[in-house]
Symmetry: C2
C-alpha cells in the first residue's frame, strides 16, 4: 500500500497562505469547531483509534483552517513538540482511511490534506500553476471552465479528472 508521490516538478514553495480566521471568543465558528472536533473524535473512537494530543491538535488545525495543506505546511502551523514527520504521515493516513480527511494531489509530488466533515462534503480545487495557490470550488459537478476563469480570474485553465474504484475482477476475487 505504497502511497508515494513522484517528485515530478520542483520543490514547492510553502509560504503562508493559511487562513487565519481565528475567531472571537464565543462565535458560532468556535462552537462549530468544537462540535466538529468532538464528532471527529467520536469517529476516531469508533475506529478503535486513540484520542491523543497529537491527533487532536492535527484535527483542530484541519478543522479551523481551510486546506488542502501539505505535510510541510501542517508541520509549520503546529506546536513544534508535536509532529515528528512519521507520526504526522501515519495520522494523516489513518484519518484518510476513516474518511476524516481527503487527500489530493496536484502533480507537484506532494500530497495535500483537508478536513472532510462529511463524506458527502466533496468539492474540487483550482491550483495556480505558477504560485501554487489553491482555491476551492463549490459543488461536485463539472463547472464550465469559462466560469472558473471568470470567477477566479484564472487563465490557461486545464483540468484533471480521475475516477477510482474496484474493478469487476477484483471485486469478484475479494468475495
Amino acid at each position: 500500500m505504497k502511497q508515494k508521490k513522484p517528485g515530478a516538478q520542483r520543490p514547492l514553495k510553502t509560504k503562508e497562505n493559511l487562513k487565519h480566521t481565528k475567531a472571537l471568543a464565543h462565535s458560532h465558528v468556535d462552537i462549530d469547531v468544537s462540535h466538529l472536533l468532538e464528532d471527529a473524535c467520536g469517529i476516531l473512537r469508533n475506529a478503535g483509534l486513540k484520542r491523543t494530543p497529537n491527533r487532536e491538535n492535527l484535527l483542530r488545525f484541519l478543522i479551523e483552517n481551510h486546506g488542502p495543506f501539505s505535510k510541510e505546511e501542517i508541520q509549520k502551523a503546529l506546536p513544534k513538540e508535536d509532529f515528528d514527520s512519521v507520526t504526522l504521515y501515519r495520522n494523516l493516513a489513518n484519518f484518510e482511511e476513516i474518511g476524516l480527511v481527503r487527500r489530493s494531489e496536484f502533480g507537484d509530488g506532494v500530497s495535500r490534506y483537508e478536513f472532510q466533515s462529511h463524506p458527502d462534503n466533496h468539492h474540487h480545487h483550482i491550483v495556480c500553476t505558477t504560485c501554487h495557490k489553491v482555491d476551492s470550488l463549490d459543488s461536485c459537478s463539472l463547472p464550465k471552465l469559462d466560469d472558473i476563469v471568470e470567477k477566479f480570474g484564472y487563465s490557461k485553465v486545464r483540468h484533471s479528472l480521475e475516477f477510482f474504484g474496484v474493478c469487476k475482477d477484483c471485486s469478484r476475487k475479494q468475495k
Copy 2:
C-alpha cells in the same frame, strides 16, 4: 501544425535509410500511425527538438499503444538499447511540455503518460484501486458515477477533479 507529407518510412536507428518509400499493403492503422508520428516529429522540430531514434521509438510506442503508461511499463516495451531512465524521463517531460503527451497521476506515486494526438483529445480514466488497471472514459464531461459503475463493472467509485491555471496575481506579474 502539420509539417510535411509523411514518406512513411521505417523507424530504424540507422540514419541513411530514410528514403525507403514503402507504400503497399498496409492497413489504415499503419497509415494513421505513420501520419501521427510524422505530425509529432513536426511538432518536435518546431519546438527546436531533434528527431532522435530514442524519441522516435518512444513516440511510436505511445502512438501504437493506448496508455497511460508508467516509465516502468514503457521501458519494458522498448528495445533495451534505448532508454536509460534519465533520457526517458527527460523525453517524456519534453513531450509533455510541447503537448505531445499527457501526464496523469493516480495517487500511487507514479506518473503515467499517454500520447495526445491533439490538445483537444482530452479524456479521463478510471483506475482500479486494487489491481491498478486503467480504463479510459470517452468525453470530457462528467459522467454519472452510476453509469461508470454499470458500464465498467466498477464498485466503490470515487473521483478526483482538479483544475490548474494561472491566477490573477501571477498573470499580472508575468506581463
